[in-house]
Symmetry: D2
């Protein structure tokens, strides 16, 4: 039996063993990709709880950076970056519900070098930016094109990195805001959490009819913090399963995999992102795992797991988790 | 001769002495007020550069807090707060231009007690919030209803505060984002700068056709920082004059009055808001007032003026200014 | 009658009309200046509550920057900057008490150009620093030497700035820490608040026997935030009056002048400095001016005054004040 | 062959295979423990590079919290907490050198329940504190006493946590500051990094003659961030080996173990701590591992490892690391 069978998604999802349909969201079917996450765009697909969707995501540069000479400042026009597939409606989803997104697999698409990493002016953690606004000169603009396959990320002659694909941007629509795809927030967005790969389930608060799921920004691998501003961005075929948990009423995204549960916060400064994540985790342990509040708080001080998503975007993302072995009932 | 005649608006605006039309944007004409600033709503008015508009703004609670027993958590539904008039199109405005908004006058509307101040759960500077997320109990929820007229703000038997009206939220639409009206950013938004009252001109970057001006959130007075989370919020009749400066290409809002010029930044943490404001001011002095960059930077270290807008909202606002007496040509 | 006669210092100080002695703390008497504020150095002077002290302060570069060719990175050795006079013992001062420091006058010393302003590598608000650590190149290093007298600060042919002297660094010793003179904190330190000039009284928490007062870092003028990292630093003859308030038990410094009272906080990020200042002000109004806590909090949201000290040092400083006209008893 | 033989300590340390002496620093020999890290206290021991020291550390409450009824606010007097052993002089250490501290083993001392965890008023990540100053009530004050042995940390009937001992506070003296033992900074201090346990080497910048090593604050285990403010604090017998690397000239602490190298930054806000750590790591890879600067920066964006130390102290600590497998020469 897979751990999935005892996941929150399987235990509480609306699908309940229903035979899933599989949908295909190709580039052609998607047509126009989206640069904001919001309630104002037209759905491309409507699915039932439990359905599978095979999605062709574009890379964060929408394929415009083809060679190491294609500087982002030349070939991109802000804010038209990080294109998203969707919105996908899930039947029955309403404000106060939660969408569960299980990532089944992620495969590279297109010819090599498929992977792109760039240093972009006024972007990244170790440079002045539009928000940490300085009078210093920008760092040099640079592009790296990288061969990627399911065996590895061929960074350089010296270094091959492991292929650890994950989704950088995953969202339900906010209720009234329409948020650019560079920004993470309570709706999900550009969280850049390496945990959000195959074998993970992300839980997203639903704010609008159908939830309006957006997905994109596949990474072949990424370090904690995404320090230079970009991961190994690549076009992918990502297969997900979507389920619906009625009335869960989350305020912020959460994540589950075989080993742990995690609450996710996005804010600035970075300590506020960590506060959100840990507070949500304490309240989760109290509400659903039989922990007294202060016992949970003090115990996480001994065994809490923190994962830094990005600290380069307009808001920063932190996940706070706990191993499932400490959640088994007494 | 008024200082206005030598303002940037008058010198560089498209109106150029054209006889203005006066438009009226009553509650009835506005109809539905807006809770996001963005490109997706329908214009209520189109004006020419130089035109005057007499606007009936609603208070930030949209009139729902009528007595001190009307607790915000009971009578309001988030995120439907801080209603805005608009969007107003300005003919000829295009991306890369700037709207100039001169506030001519602000008069109170409606029966007293017109003014409302509230302590709202999880909101304000000296409490845990949704972003500075803590496990502490909220502060008590409280409402103050306050008589307001053009002679004063009658806070208590002990204290009458001066009537110093200003606009808390003033914006052009972002290009693709639609941003809730509680958040300030590069588009303007909920800046809560007490300087933005009668006698001031605010310059806003245009990102979309017509600029799409939004205005609301009148305050009868406000301290630096708006520490408890709300000012003396009141319904107003606000009269503005709008002009258009072609091709100015600002990244962030700016402000001018008789005494000073000011650049405005909004971000978190608060030092980033201050960095934006000061950087913009240095570059402004270099570009338009004949200062060498490092001379401007070092001189502002001796005579720069900082005004704190709010540090209670999802982003914080800081204005950095310099007295006009130091800007006269050599 | 001067406002001083109704100041907290005069009403509650231990001097109580005692005829003051006047002490002289010349460069010669001071001997070795200090680069940390702490309990481990030897006192240079012991005074009684109410005494006057005439102090020869050195500039923050200890006179080593004599010409515009004397680059700080060449002529200074970190951390030996911002030299302080003191420590001065006040008889009877014990942990839990407060020293009151009234600044009577500040006169320039030494030959012109007495004033020095510098852009120092890795220092200032609009550059990467040792704490906001970036990979960007430093801004250019620059020195300005400026003529200063009591009529003005002769910044350039174009601009004369007003002479508005104040003390940048004023402290009692912490209980056990010894803190470098660049850092402000609860003990006072390098607050760089332009309000701390002649006509102001600063109240400092006493942590050690005698209080151990340190003073230095005179500025001929300074803008809000001290954005480039330095003010117009100059050697001064500063005359102060020191009094002792027994048992006041402050946690953070406070300031009083004819117009207002102010609480001062120093921390990072900047919003934390503002939180400290406003919290201390609310509690002060409650404890000593007959305000109910939430009334004070809501009213400061309408009339609070914020002054930014520095946001360039290892910690940032904010003062939160209220006009005395709102403090008169009902 | 152990990885230690190829560690930086062994390759570059002054010991060079010298037969070590073993010193014993018992409670009795230590006598008075220290609450600040600085140059003003008297050494308790002088050792040669390569020597071993067996140290009896006290817990962070100095043993005063003996039962769950001993509330910290009753039995402790701030700032006299987190007592440190030392200072220990290392012969030949001078400003510009680096001390290497290899932790060989950590064993619990004293009778059970040896472990102590507490929620302390105005302390911890999810409450208002003295720096994030709020008007909210404190969280309840709580103490947990926990049995600890080398097999486990017996948190509750439900949960046994693994025994993962590490040192919370490890420092060389700053040059002139004397810093309380709750604060981490460039000298080391209260970093609370779970990686700093047996099998790790910490490299600390030397600022004063002999380095003046301080050590204390043993934790039986700790989660990332130490969210409630305290770990499972316990008295330990910690055995270390100390070596000296001449002229390495570090600005911030670094760490090495079998799997990775890590640079450590401590600052506020939390993103500044992460910036310091990643900047130091980039420069380290450039200086000593043959990476071009921008290649290192971009590659860390794909494989950098971030560990959160504490985000509860006056400054927060972040480690940024890279797996040693990527450091092997081409």
């Amino acid at each position: 039996m897979s751990w999935l069978d005892s996941s929150i998604m399987r235990l509480r999802g609306a699908a309940q063993g229903r035979t899933p349909d599989t949908h295909s969201l190709t580039e052609a079917r998607q047509g126009k990709y989206h640069y904001t996450i919001g309630p104002y765009s037209s759905p491309v697909l409507s699915v039932k709880p439990g359905d599978r969707i095979v999605i062709e995501t574009r890379d964060a540069f929408e394929g415009a950076v083809k060679t190491e000479q294609d500087l982002p400042s030349k070939v991109l026009t802000m804010p038209f970056v990080n294109p998203q597939n969707g919105p996908i409606l899930v039947e029955g989803a309403q404000k106060g519900d939660v969408l569960a997104v299980y990532i089944e697999s992620m495969a590279p698409r297109g010819p090599n070098p498929r992977g792109t990493c760039a240093m972009i002016p006024q972007f990244g953690a170790l440079t002045g930016t539009t928000l940490t606004a300085l009078l210093s000169e920008s760092l040099p603009e640079k592009v790296r094109k990288i061969d990627v396959d399911e065996q590895g990320v061929y960074w350089s002659k010296r270094v091959t990195l492991p292929y650890k694909p994950h989704i950088g941007t995953l969202s339900c629509s906010p209720e009234i805001d329409s948020i650019n795809t560079l920004t993470p927030d309570a709706h999900g967005g550009n969280m850049d959490l390496p945990d959000m790969g195959p074998g993970s389930i992300t839980y997203l608060p639903v704010q609008t009819e159908g939830g309006r799921l957006f997905i994109g920004d596949a990474h072949a691998c990424q370090g904690d913090g995404e320090v230079c501003g970009t991961a190994v961005e690549f076009p992918s075929t990502t297969t997900i399963e979507v389920d619906l948990i009625k009335g869960w009423g989350l305020q912020w995204p959460r994540l589950e995999n075989e080993a742990l549960i995690m609450a996710i916060g996005s804010a600035r400064p970075l300590e506020d992102a960590a506060r959100i994540a840990y507070k949500e985790l304490v309240l989760w342990m109290e509400a659903e795992f039989g922990y007294e509040r202060w016992d949970a708080y003090m115990m996480l001080s001994q065994c809490g797991l923190v994962r830094l998503g990005n600290f380069v975007d307009p808001k920063y993302t932190v996940g706070a988790g706990i191993s499932k072995k400490y959640l088994a009932p007494e």
